[in-house]
Symmetry: C2
């Protein structure tokens, strides 16, 4: 229906042709665009539980929420995500007679040329470019270091598949304007606290540093081949040492290179022991040693704090985000179920350089909310009441009961108890079905006996027990 145009929108009061339109409309089978989802009350309750938990931890660590518009100018987004990203962006059609406009400009007849005429905006592709734009645009209002978090949907025209959606929420915290490694340590604490609060009991936060990867490339004199090198090393889990070696040889590395790299790939033991070995191997690379220093500083901070459930592990095969991370690299994995990473992040130099504000360094992390949802569902970690249902339903047999019930309903709500009164006229069976389907904890029955005696029947819908109580006793019981 269209009443929001009048009611909520407050944008247009009269919309006369609308009613006629509705009458003329053909009936269509409703569906959502592919790759998008509806969230039912149960799912919303659970998603809110995840987001509220993460947000409250962000806040506790001094991060403040911002929101940016769903659409950004194409000039803000284009070229920031590579050719592939430009292609996967959802562009918004200009309003007006853009076809005439296109003709007028006599474009080459290609989609690309046409696009520039008919679209000037696109939906947000991630939260980071809009954040960089925000920081530059509002730089005079911001006190640095600026610690912000943002939880909003992003859109990508990816081919939809299991667990991959065209609209999904990102959940990011970033600090800009501080190069202190304390920030990296705090990100580990944030992951630890948030995921522990969500009920995860065994997860690993992997840490690496881009400078260590550069150091490895340095010592074999192949700084230019760092991408080839790390892409191969990153596959250790999947293809094993022999596979990695073969891939490196295929990519032009020599047996001599492999001899130098092998001990690094096979690093074992505690983080301290790994660092010690790394310092030996990377001794000739100033960058590599800097990377070791940085990681050690983060571990030193963490040694003064107590992690609740996280294992923190130096993993030099971790190479995600290699193109933009310049220092720490993070990835979080649960050890309780089979699942890709549920979080990741790192440090980057020059977040805002693309918008003309140079030299602002920062670091950030992200939670993968959809995957965390799937993990929690598999482990049955959602609290019973995450379905956000009311607590009580008052059932009555007739109009008289309904009017009798109304003051009690108001009393319950004044005591901040979430309560409903089923409108008179329905069979009690139907009312109880309603209570069951909404997982309400209690039902209060009001019949003529109850009205006469003032003793109301209270049914605990979980245990099934019933008792007779007066209104004040009910209030005390449910408060």
């Amino acid at each position: 229906m269209v009443e929001s145009v009048g009611r909520g929108g407050l944008n247009a009061i009269y919309n006369i042709p609308v009613f006629l339109y509705i009458c003329r409309m053909a009936v269509i089978k409703p569906s959502v665009p592919k790759g998008t989802r509806d969230f039912s009350p149960l799912e919303m309750g659970r998603r809110n539980f995840i987001f509220d938990t993460i947000k409250s931890v962000f806040r506790k660590y001094g991060y403040q929420q911002i929101e940016t518009p769903s659409m950004e100018n194409l000039s803000t987004l284009t070229g920031k995500y590579g050719d592939e990203g430009d292609k996967l962006m959802f562009k918004i059609l200009n309003s007006g007679d853009f076809w005439a406009e296109a003709e007028k400009r006599n474009t080459e007849q290609s989609s690309k040329a046409l696009t520039s005429v008919i679209s000037e905006k696109a939906l947000r592709y991630d939260l980071t470019v809009p954040f960089a734009r925000y920081v530059v645009q509002h730089q005079n209002e911001i006190t640095f270091p600026f610690k912000r978090f943002q939880v909003q949907p992003v859109w990508r025209a990816d081919r939809p598949q299991k667990g991959r959606y065209r609209e999904f929420f990102q959940c990011d915290a970033d600090v800009v304007g501080s190069d202190s490694l304390l920030n990296e340590a705090e990100f580990v604490l944030i992951y630890d606290e948030a995921l522990t609060r969500l009920g995860l009991k065994d997860f690993t936060i992997k840490i690496n540093n881009r400078k260590i990867l550069s150091g490895i490339a340095d010592i074999i004199d192949k700084a230019d081949n760092i991408i080839d090198l790390t892409v191969a090393i990153d596959k250790l889990d999947k293809i094993g040492l022999d596979g990695v070696k073969k891939e490196l040889l295929d990519r032009g590395f020599t047996d001599a290179d492999l001899a130098k790299i092998e001990p690094i790939i096979l690093l074992q033991g505690s983080n301290e022991k790994k660092l010690l070995q790394l310092r030996n191997v990377l001794a000739t690379s100033a960058t590599g040693i800097k990377g070791c220093d940085e990681i050690e500083a983060v571990f030193n901070y963490l040694n003064l704090c107590k992690l609740q459930a996280a294992n923190c592990e130096l993993d030099i095969t971790l190479a995600r985000g290699l193109n933009y991370y310049t220092g720490a690299i993070f990835e979080v994995k649960t050890n309780e179920v089979q699942m890709g990473s549920i979080g990741g992040g790192g440090r980057y130099d020059d977040l805002t350089g693309m918008f003309g504000l140079k030299g602002l360094t920062g670091a950030g992390i992200s939670f993968g909310a959809d995957r965390i949802y799937d993990v929690m569902e598999e482990l049955k970690l959602f609290p019973e009441d995450a379905g956000q249902a009311s607590q009580v339903l008052i059932c009555c047999f007739d109009k008289e009961g309904e009017l009798y019930a109304l003051p009690l309903l108001q009393k319950l709500r004044s005591a901040n108890i979430s309560a409903e009164l089923y409108p008179a006229g329905a069979k009690i069976k139907k009312q109880l079905d309603y209570a069951n389907s909404k997982h309400l904890a209690y039902v209060i029955l009001i019949g003529s006996d109850e009205m006469q005696s003032g003793l109301l029947t209270v049914k605990n819908m979980i245990t099934g027990t019933q008792e007779k109580l007066i209104a004040d006793e009910i209030l005390a019981r449910l408060s």
Copy 2:
């Protein structure tokens, strides 16, 4: 930056050309698309305060949250909002080589024809059509009556102006599958409780009923001219009785009509008195009398409840949403500042008929969040802490102080106190400026004296007072 692609998105780990792109990019002055807004931490805190308050009241009354995708199929949206709405919808460009596709289909060269080839989706225009689509699509999972609320942005390509945005949040509660007038009464209670909790002290909930308006048209035998009639009457506030009369005459009503209508327009006194007069005047219209009965039933429910701050007023000049409302019509106005309506709603038949599910009646209301924000700002109703800042900043002079501070920081956070440690290396003046700009309540100073004695300097940033306390005393003070 692009690290979210790797980190949060979990959608694409390697994105090799990106870094090069960023280096090559020309610097552009950043801005947001016209009619859209960034929300800073202060604004977010205040907006969250509004939304959280309204949501918690919705929940208390048994309404459950859902969310629908930002984009809907054009087949779902087109024709639901009239020609004007179709024009103001933000359409999304198909991905792929749509130009070739357009050529192939050899369309007429008009924007309209082209649009159908290059776009199949649009951004949500309101929350109600998507809700209707949701109900039909999920009808087998839903237990009726279904009470849902939804707080999400909608997009309209309106000409931007003061207080009118192209992206704005709607905040709706609707019940479908119940024709009980108890729902209408509860909407009044929801408005009363939510707006009172937000701090509004004097506001009016105007109620009318479509059937009363039909009744008025009936008694002058002008049922077909009900729109002309109500559009004119609706202007009473602005143009006065003489203006309304002139407009009615211009629109073809007769002096005899006016003589019958005038007493209705000028209805005065209590709601009871107005209803009594209406029943007299509308005696010959069955529809009109039905409208009076319905309004009276709502008032009867409300007489059993205590309104906190709302005035509830029968106003037969209220005609918003006339094209779709079939019963009650609501509008909410504050009496404390000059402002358009801050809420509205009503009852509609056949919400879901457009999607083939007939006979489902419903009613709904909406809060105008942007206007409520403006009212609250003008009346200074936002709580101090709505800016969602931390409580404490720990300041230290050097690296040693930083490491000394870390366990205290963790203790504070374990006690659920939002706390930050300023990374070592900055001048104390800069650290205090940071605390001030974030409106933090306390600063803890850790210098060499403090580390030696264990007595830390705690400064109350509001009163300016300082004292020396040990860590446990600080914890007790701030908890």
